[in-house]
Symmetry: C2
Subunit: 319 residues, 2 copies
């Protein structure tokens, strides 16, 4: 749930004057997303999303994110298109925050993941990877493998309070993952956070992808590993290989997966699981009890990690 | 910020099958309102609000609220109109909660109250009072004068932790207010919670009133007293009599205020201030620190109360 910054009507009116998108009709905070403040904005011209970037986003990186979204949206992917102001700028200032308006995407994100969702997600992810190829600027993945050891170090003092033995388990797993991390797989722009709440469906069809603020330039197959973690475990944390097969096959039908990429799936999935386990653990330990942010349980991702550590090869993922 | 209940896509689809309002296009949680879960719902037919009633609302009272809204909306007031299902029912069940769909109102609530807002609010309040006259069922105001002493008793043990001497101050003030409380003023249906976030404006004009879930049958002029408290104090808690005059005159131009109603304004304003001071105090003391609800500072209303206790007569309010 996220509206961290209150936007006054005067400030909003002045802000909209810098755009050629018609007159204000409605403006409501959206109770979704955890990093930024999002508002549903309607004008006489149509529907938009206004995002105010809060402090966890580095302002220096915003042009890269907005540029990627614009590139993807104009290269066949359905994702929010940044709207330029009268001066040509998409990134502006509002209420002391960096802010941008993007187009509104219809659709509903799936609260319960069904098998029928997983193929379309794999296909859309592959299309994103292909469409991103023409976007020249790169962004280092701050939450990629180089970031995991520092994250673990900062969480170790509190880890065993979350679960006894957790610190040792994570340290051992991370050492193994980093030792085996693949070095020569194809790299490109990845979403890096394509969870169900970032994928809209309409009439059983995927209608758009949102929230590119973790996107980065990294191993493409790692993005598939993130999705296998996010979409293919059941609520009881059992792994649904049928969902994984549907996702992987749909991905590979659009962008072929090499033998090396397939073989690396277990360690890539381990990496994706430990990445979310570590950020959740860090937030769990460092979120004050009174904060307005719901903390997510890191243990869910530690259980996923254990599954992937036991996976022998790509067959564990139906590939 | 309020989405307490997660609605699955399957449950939503099944729920919408009971309505003749077209096919689902978009569905987002709204980060506004503190009592219920609200969602912005778009279908191929138009825009709606879906509300899930959470536990603070007594289900037995929901038909009264929805009936009042329907009566007001069909008698010239711009407020959400409950949408009936195919079976004629507006009140239904979704995800174990009572739920209703209402029409969407365009507009933006004013984050900064300006003088230009106050006349339209007074006028709309008077129109609400006149339009409500034909709605026969009544609802006792649970947060009216009879409710204030029990609320104070339950808050007294923690009151002095909020501010030393607060318990005694509130007890003395409440005794005085109840002793002077007017008995023979005109009664009708009141909104009882017409704060800025419940009033939408569009192009400088009032475009609608929302959130009738504190509405009740009580002294009409008390509703004006609530609005004087909610709209006419500046952020530094100084009282802006120009705003009050604009509001009161606009009200009286639509529904005449009798001499008795005008004379009672100081005590009615004291009552309105202590009502919000007491509920905020109660919530302040009883909200666990980890709760996802922002606690509102009761002291703001105690300072308003002190202003009203010093008011000699209606001239203090520009009337």
């Amino acid at each position: 749930m996220a509206v961290y910054t209150e936007v006054s009507d005067e400030a909003l009116d002045a802000f909209l004057d810098d755009y050629d998108i018609g007159e204000l009709v409605a403006f409501r905070g959206i109770a979704e997303g955890v990093e930024n403040s999002n508002f549903s904005l309607r004008t006489t011209r149509g529907d938009y999303i206004l995002t105010l970037y809060e402090k966890r986003v580095d302002p220096a990186e915003l042009p890269w994110f907005l540029g990627l979204m614009e590139h993807l949206a104009t290269h066949g992917l359905t994702c929010p298109l940044p709207v330029h102001g009268r001066d040509g700028q998409a990134l502006r200032q509002l209420c002391g925050r960096h802010a941008a308006i993007t187009t509104f995407l219809p659709g509903v994100w799936p609260r319960h993941v069904r098998l029928a969702h997983c193929g379309p997600v794999g296909e859309a992810l592959a299309r994103l990877h292909l469409a991103g190829a023409g976007y020249a600027p790169t962004r280092r993945n701050a939450l990629g493998p180089q970031g995991w050891s520092p994250l673990l170090e900062r969480s170790l003092p509190g880890a065993d309070e979350v679960q006894p033995g957790l610190g040792t388990e994570l340290r051992q797993a991370l050492d193994g993952i980093l030792a085996q991390w693949p070095q020569n797989l194809p790299v490109g722009h990845i979403h890096a956070d394509l969870f169900p709440d970032n994928v809209f469906f309409l009439d059983q069809r995927l209608s758009g992808l949102i929230d590119f603020y973790f996107a980065a330039t990294d191993i493409l197959a790692y993005d598939l590993a993130v999705c296998l973690n996010a979409w293919c475990f059941e609520p009881d944390l059992s792994f649904n290989v049928t969902k994984a097969r549907a996702m992987g096959h749909a991905y590979a039908a659009v962008r072929e997966l090499s033998a090396a990429e397939r073989a690396a799936l277990p360690v890539l999935c381990q990496g994706a699981a430990i990445r979310f386990a570590l950020t959740r653990l860090y937030d769990w330990i460092n979120t004050p009890p009174g904060a307005l942010v719901t903390r997510k349980d890191p243990v869910e991702y530690i259980r996923r990690l254990r599954f992937h550590l036991a996976a022998r090869d790509e067959h564990a993922y139906g590939l």
